[in-house]
Symmetry: C4
Subunit: 335 residues, 4 copies
């Protein structure tokens, strides 16, 4: 099948799109999609004309998917932080609208939906630590890395802006005055380590969480392990973030994603929280929620590829120098 793609012009979506003459106009099209995955390329494929926008979109689809993914993750994640923490103030709500358990489910839903929206387009990284780990160990094209990370960061900022706009009045009530902004509510956006925690422990916690994140992601997408059926990876991530937030969340608020932390942090600094979000604990924002996840992600990937993964696409398993080239080509085929 890949050969077919390689040997015919139909292989490059840059130049055509498949016309499936049976696409229904309701959710019934999902089974057809299943079929698509089973015998690709489908027989009824044929060239069709395209309107002008189509060519433009082909160039921005991947970053757009990463942007949308992180934006959704942050809308649900920072959203549930705001809903639970702000609604515990009786000025906002007579009764609390959630507790720590709903915080876990809000983040779990956020990552699952983020990946459902982006996985088929960009691979659903929605996390610079994932993008970098795949680039270093799995031959993800380096030329795409900056674009992906920029899109992810932008998604974090926009997502946080949407949440901030949605909870603006409630934040005023909790802060006790229009425009008053302190770390009390900033913690709903960026992450800030728990008071009792040492810097070393905070770093260790973020490092650990992201290493686990990558090990699980790589296992759940390893065709030689026991991955879920295509389209259900988000379910694994739902359970993963549910577990991480419930089990390893009190030290640092489980950032584990530089874009998810820096994006909202930048937004807060712009809307009136000021420089305190950066100066906290001597530039905590750099060394803990950014460096620790990246190092943790690389370590987790190295562990999985060294001990378990046998796919030749891993750096650990490479033989011969022609590989990376092949890789590029293949990757573009898919995208």
């Amino acid at each position: 099948m890949p050969d077919a793609r390689a040997s015919s012009p139909t292989s490059s979506v840059e130049h055509m799109i498949p016309r499936d003459v049976s696409t229904p106009q309701n959710f019934n099209n999902v089974p057809h999609s299943k079929e698509t995955f089973h015998h690709v390329p489908e027989p009824e494929m044929m060239f069709i004309e395209q309107n002008g926008w189509f060519r433009i979109r082909q160039k921005i689809r991947e970053p757009a998917a990463e942007f949308a993914g992180v934006m959704l993750l942050v809308i649900f994640g920072c959203g549930v932080n705001c809903q639970v923490n702000l609604s515990s103030n009786t000025g906002v709500s007579a009764t609390p609208k959630g507790d720590y358990t709903s915080v876990c489910f809000g983040w779990a839903a956020g990552i699952a939906l983020a990946v459902w929206v982006s996985a088929g387009i960009s691979g659903g990284h929605i996390n610079p630590a994932v993008t970098l780990s795949l680039a270093v160990f799995r031959g993800f094209p380096w030329r795409k890395v900056p674009v992906f990370i920029f899109a992810q960061l932008l998604g974090g900022i926009v997502g946080a802006a949407i949440v901030y706009a949605n909870y603006f009045h409630a934040i005023d009530i909790v802060e006790g005055g229009r425009g008053v902004r302190t770390l009390a509510t900033a913690g709903n956006f960026g992450t800030f380590a728990a008071g009792f925690e040492t810097n070393v422990s905070a770093f260790f916690s973020e490092f650990l969480i992201t290493a686990i994140l990558l090990i699980v992601i790589l296992a759940a997408t390893d065709k030689r392990n026991s991955p879920p059926p295509y389209g259900l990876l988000p379910l694994v991530l739902f359970i993963l973030l549910l577990g991480i937030s419930a089990s390893l969340g009190i030290d640092t608020g489980f950032g584990a994603n530089p874009a998810r932390d820096l994006g909202p942090r930048i937004l807060t600094s712009m809307v009136g929280y000021g420089s305190q979000v950066y100066t906290f604990r001597n530039q905590y924002w750099i060394w803990c929620p950014i460096l620790a996840p990246i190092l943790g992600g690389l370590t987790g990937t190295m562990l999985y590829d060294t001990l378990i993964f046998i796919g030749e696409e891993s750096l650990v398993n490479r033989v011969g120098s022609t590989y990376p080239v092949l890789l590029e080509g293949r990757h573009d085929d898919i995208v």
Copy 2:
């Protein structure tokens, strides 16, 4: 396969139904159903006689499915609102029978089950905002729109009536007297914005939630993205509503569905709550839970189709005028 359907009389369920000579009488028939989806039309198809009712049902199945879907959504959703809020009154229950977290799960279960009951019959819109978005952008037949929306609204009214009948005595206890009805318990049926919230913010919140709803639905049914296996779309919606209610629920009570809000609101106005459910905040019921979701849904659909979707069935990707006709035909094939 679609060609086969198009070129043979077997393509129209109006005139025959498939006889599967191996249909067992227990849940074992599910794998056969899977097979059905893999090679359609199945070899053992043959004409069989029909009884008279069959022809009638063919005409009402789709609206019936939309009716049943919204009815179930409202039974579970307004049901959990009632159970949690009413049971917090010691006259009703010694201990509360749930908290805000169970409210999230009740609504999540409601939408998932509603779609499981209707997706294969009518496409499982169960939301006028979804129906309108698909009609505007994806060529869903306009002639079906009024029927669908009417069935959805009716489902909302009947579902609310069932919940009201089920919690009648508990409402009396909480309201403090037989037949006493105030907004205190009306909020378990229709939605009413939080006190601190401005009209603009309430509108924005409903707009945002429905835009996200459509983006996720379109991604989870986009065969060129990473949709779940056929029959598991409800799982995505379960996680989606779990996240929306946990993360974006305190401003407006996450209506995001004109039928889910107006149906129960009409019921309450009929059973004794009177006109207050309409006069609240200058006709809040029109501009917030009806207009905002419709505009949000259209916006979400436009964003997804513009940035990510490459299927030609989208308005954004249309080339040539013959398309809509083809579309109609296909749609009828499936239904």
Copy 3:
């Protein structure tokens, strides 16, 4: 494929079992199972000898599966009732080990696991209301009905006995003395309507819940609707019971299953609770948790088959009298 089965001796598991020479000794055998379902009968089938027990088991497998299913449902369901209610007593546990939300999840897990254990063997009815509805409307063989219901009831009694044995000491502590047994703890086993509820409302509630139960089960197993992939029906039931317990649980404790209610009730009457479990509200145990679910189940089935289901196996769609015979035969093929 069904023809193949019908025309060859391999069709009856009474006389042989498939030898799959590749069965591994770990969970890896699941993918093979998937394959099995895709092309049945599998090529590598061949006759093998059987030991004596095999023939005996063939006769008891179905009731054994129904027995195990209801037993598991009751162990998890009555178990979570006991854990949550008994652990709220500080003599049993310093802190409560769960709340109403965990009660919902305990029951949801119970029904899901019960069906995973029995669906492939007996169809996973685990509920007399389901068995009767399938017998009346879907041609489930009447000669199997008494055996199924007896096995289900026995499973309920044994499951309750196991839970009672597990929580014996905790019950003593809560009741305030060894062997003291009152309705205060009996409610953890059988169901008893809420105090404020009238008999009519209690009956309506049980009727409603079971009607919804059947509608969802029939939709989720209707190959012409959008059922989940084979082996994931329990996931639908997990979400269904989660929703029912969260949304419609305060009136009657969501029995919706005569075996789940009568079995534990009989057990309680045997271990010291005495006749009060029967005399409560003039034989409540008969007219509410037994009659209402059966009538509700039949009504739900009638509604689904009349409005949506087009399969000829339904009474509503039958044409010609030879059908029931065929049916029997087929059913035995599968089992």
Copy 4:
């Protein structure tokens, strides 16, 4: 397919690995994996060179997977115990970061992720009781048993060490001083029966839980029952542990896994809790969390194989003595 494997050198991964020339570099590779399961062996298979490490890894992959599995289970499980119990101390957190419900979800997530990481490599036992039951009844190779159990125990110790390192400072705060260690916090790692519970009841509880565990695992992997699609077994285990912890958790803290209990217990005895973790209730650690699960697992397996399972790989169904040999061979093919 197994024959193909058996008759060609491609059958042994010891000597080659499949090159799938279409492996993309993002999550899109999951559908290809699905394909792999559908038509194995895949056409594009060909020999490729290997680097030196590959041969070494082939020997350690299985124990490495079991090690990683139990490590993850303990990180999430003991992690959530620590987060919930320690954060209830205001010195650690202003508000509790979870309740008993999150404890249930933490353990459920732990077992699901543990199996996703290991199922495709080692079979995902992650529990000595499972390994022993499969060895006794299902012909799992005895020569692998010691290696598996050792890897599982080591995983338990390392996992507990990671959790201990992560919560070190919080434990100091709760214990009221640096290095003070009592059973008050030891219970977050090893299990200790509830105060009111007799030894017999504690033993019964562990025995019961593990018997249910095995019955569900065997049913959910029985291709002749209704197992979930390949790659979704962890979902069954998620629901199973959610149910066990919610319904049967107050007596003994649902150990049900000798490695999960002894590993963390050993770690605690090493880091300062001393011998009290062993001397509690006359060597409770041996007879309750080790012996009871093993006996329970064997009993559950015996019940399932006797009453329901018809696969010849079970001891109960064996005919002829050549079987165990065949078995070994097959197993090695797969691994």
